[in-house]
């Protein structure tokens, strides 16, 4: 049993605790520790990515308690990919933050590390209650990060965010309790075996619990009826916090992918493919409404928040199709959209600093920026990637999504293809209009002398450029990345191997037999 798996949990946990207890006075020291730990996450994630690359599952039994009794961490391709994405997003956001955003409150770096701890834990755990605990860890950290720096707008968005997520946590516990009451286990692999062999008498309760769980994950992912908190919360957060939050909606999407392929997936007997009929219309509706929201946005930050929602809608609609091709394309698109929306949040933060009183409002007329060329180029890069125009990664992502949903592809009906093409292309058009309007107002419709502000900070620009620069990189390395996401999609489509890896093939067969016997 390799101990590498637990390193991405222990590193941010202990760094966060050390930052909380020691070095309270010395901001420079805190920055150095936090930066070092976050940088170290990158090679760690890379090691795990290499280990997961061959497709073997790695199961780490905490305290060496065997699978259904103890809590396990499971590393597969999807987990490794999400860990890598978290590390790649966190470092540029932190680079931006150390240039002053972290000085507004004493706890920023500790909270940032604990947030990473919660994120990494949620991506690795193989136990449903443990997933709840990691959700709470990352939420507690995110509540405080959202409030970082105070102000009425932040408290207002914060109240919504906290109350909604607390209700979500209660629902999560109700769902977990119901599942435990029926199946007697919360280990996801064990639960999957139980659900697959559940009789008709248990099925309605299991279905209720599963859909309750879907509500919770949809709240985290910001799916249609549950997304109204997101634009306000993300727009009122500090830029680096908002950039890190770009992965928070993806935690919801990851949980949906994990639970509804493994436990309530295609092989779940009476409860097979439970979530897909819900995800499909809601995903498409989210896409449409978020596109309209993007058109109406008055500030660059709000616009980017709506772009996050558009990506959520696209991803969940593609997931709902359930074909491996669509899933592989969605995973590529997920990488692209997380990094680019994080980069655009940082860019909006930069622009706010430079424009002073004009902030990042999209005004009819405003004085030009002093470094209009620099910010213009960065904005253009991000906008082209986000809209999905060639040659950047958004184009590749959307092309793969659309070609995975071609009419006539196996598993995709003509109506589904028509709906998907129409909404994704329509949404892209609206995004194009919204971003062109934002860009031309920000950079072209200017009047008067340039704003006399300080020079932009090098490190902040570097953080922004690093995230936006992920787009050309994703195009250059499109072949290996898509090979990886395709393998990931295939791995997700065969939950039996996950269960065998966690429980052991013999134990699983014996358990399935006992379940069948008790049923008869």
């Amino acid at each position: 049993m390799s101990h590498w798996i637990i390193a991405p949990l222990l590193l941010p946990l202990f760094t966060g605790l050390a930052l909380l207890l020691g070095a309270r006075r010395n901001l420079r020291m805190r920055r150095a520790i936090s930066l070092a730990a976050t940088t170290a996450l990158l090679p760690l994630a890379a090691v795990l990515l290499m280990q997961a690359h061959d497709g073997a599952y790695q199961v780490y039994a905490l305290g060496d308690w065997p699978a259904p009794f103890g809590i396990v961490l499971v590393l597969d391709r999807l987990s490794a990919l999400m860990l890598m994405l978290t590390a790649a997003l966190a470092l540029p956001a932190l680079l931006y933050a150390v240039r002053g955003s972290d000085a507004a409150g004493p706890g920023f770096h500790a909270l940032f590390q604990l947030q990473l701890f919660g994120l990494n834990g949620a991506f690795l755990t193989g136990d449903l209650f443990n997933l709840f605990v990691f959700f709470e860890v990352l939420l507690i950290a995110s509540y405080a990060l959202l409030m970082h720096g105070q102000g009425p707008a932040r408290s207002r968005a914060g109240v919504h965010y906290v109350v909604l997520n607390l209700i979500g946590s209660s629902l999560f516990l109700f769902a977990v309790g119901t599942l435990y009451g029926i199946a007697g286990t919360l280990n996801m692999a064990d639960l999957a075996v139980h659900v697959a062999h559940s009789g008709a008498s248990d099925a309605p309760l299991l279905r209720a619990a599963a859909l309750l769980l879907l509500v919770v994950f949809a709240l985290k992912a910001a799916l249609l009826p549950l997304y109204f908190w997101l634009p306000r919360a993300y727009a009122s957060a500090h830029a680096p916090v908002a950039a890190l939050f770009a992965i928070m909606t993806k935690v919801g999407i990851y949980s949906i992918l994990r639970v509804y392929t493994l436990v309530f997936g295609a092989e779940a007997g009476l409860l097979a493919d439970l979530a897909l009929p819900w995800l499909w219309p809601l995903g498409l509706a989210t896409l449409v409404l978020a596109s309209i929201g993007a058109l109406a946005a008055q500030e660059l930050r709000t616009l980017v928040a709506y772009l996050v929602l558009i990506s959520v809608g696209t991803l969940l609609a593609a997931t709902a199709l359930g074909t491996p091709d669509a899933l592989a394309a969605a995973l590529y698109y997920l990488l692209h959209t997380t990094l680019i929306s994080g980069g655009l949040f940082l860019l909006a933060g930069n622009i706010r600093r430079q424009r002073g009183p004009y902030s990042d409002r999209l005004l009819e007329i405003a004085p030009p920026l002093q470094q209009a060329a620099l910010f213009g180029v960065l904005f253009f890069l991000g906008a082209v990637a986000m809209v999905g125009m060639p040659p950047l990664s958004g184009f590749v992502g959307k092309l793969m999504l659309l070609s995975a949903v071609m009419p006539g592809t196996a598993g995709v009906s003509g109506a589904q293809a028509a709906w998907f093409w129409a909404t994704v292309l329509g949404g892209s058009l609206l995004t194009l209009v919204a971003l062109s309007r934002a860009g031309s107002r920000m950079f072209w419709r200017t009047q008067g002398d340039a704003l006399a502000t300080e020079r932009p900070d090098g490190l902040r620009i570097f953080g922004t450029a690093a995230l936006l620069g992920a787009s050309p990189l994703l195009v250059v390395f499109a072949a290996p990345v898509t090979a990886y996401t395709q393998a990931t999609a295939l791995q997700l489509a065969s939950p039996a191997s996950y269960i065998d890896a966690v429980l052991g093939a013999d134990a699983r067969a014996a358990y399935a037999r006992t379940l069948e016997d008790t049923r008869q």
Binding site: R156, L173, F174, V176, G181
Partner: protein, 117 residues
């Protein structure tokens, strides 16, 4: 006993949901608290209700499932911390926005201007 227990949980949940919809921070906090009580009782009941059965094997003839009790403990700790946090947050929001509506805007009098104490 099961019926009484279920009715209790249902009543707590209903009261919690009602208070949450009041959209003033204090009732909302109370609603969250009631909801978390309901959750804790519910989790506890998922190990099946039994009287006089300790959650330890070998102490008595029957034993009850210890895991839900561990889950409830975790849930209580988390719920308690969250309630404390949301109270502080509500107080701060009251101080900064000048009213106790969860939207930060008083419905009766329209959006509140920045108020300085």
């Amino acid at each position: 006993m099961e019926l009484l227990f279920a009715l209790c949980i249902g009543l707590l949940t209903a009261c919690g949901a009602y208070l949450l919809l009041r959209a003033r921070t204090f009732p909302v906090v109370m609603g969250l608290t009631l909801l978390s009580y309901a959750v804790n009782l519910f989790l506890f009941a998922m190990g099946r209700l039994a009287t006089g059965a300790p959650p330890v094997i070998g102490q008595a003839e029957n034993h009850t499932d210890p895991l839900p009790q561990a889950l409830v403990l975790t849930a209580i700790v988390i719920g308690f911390a969250m309630t404390a946090f949301v109270l502080i947050l509500a107080l701060r929001s009251r101080g900064e926005t000048g009213n106790d509506h969860v939207d930060g805007e008083d419905v009766a009098s329209g959006p509140v201007k920045e108020q300085r104490p």
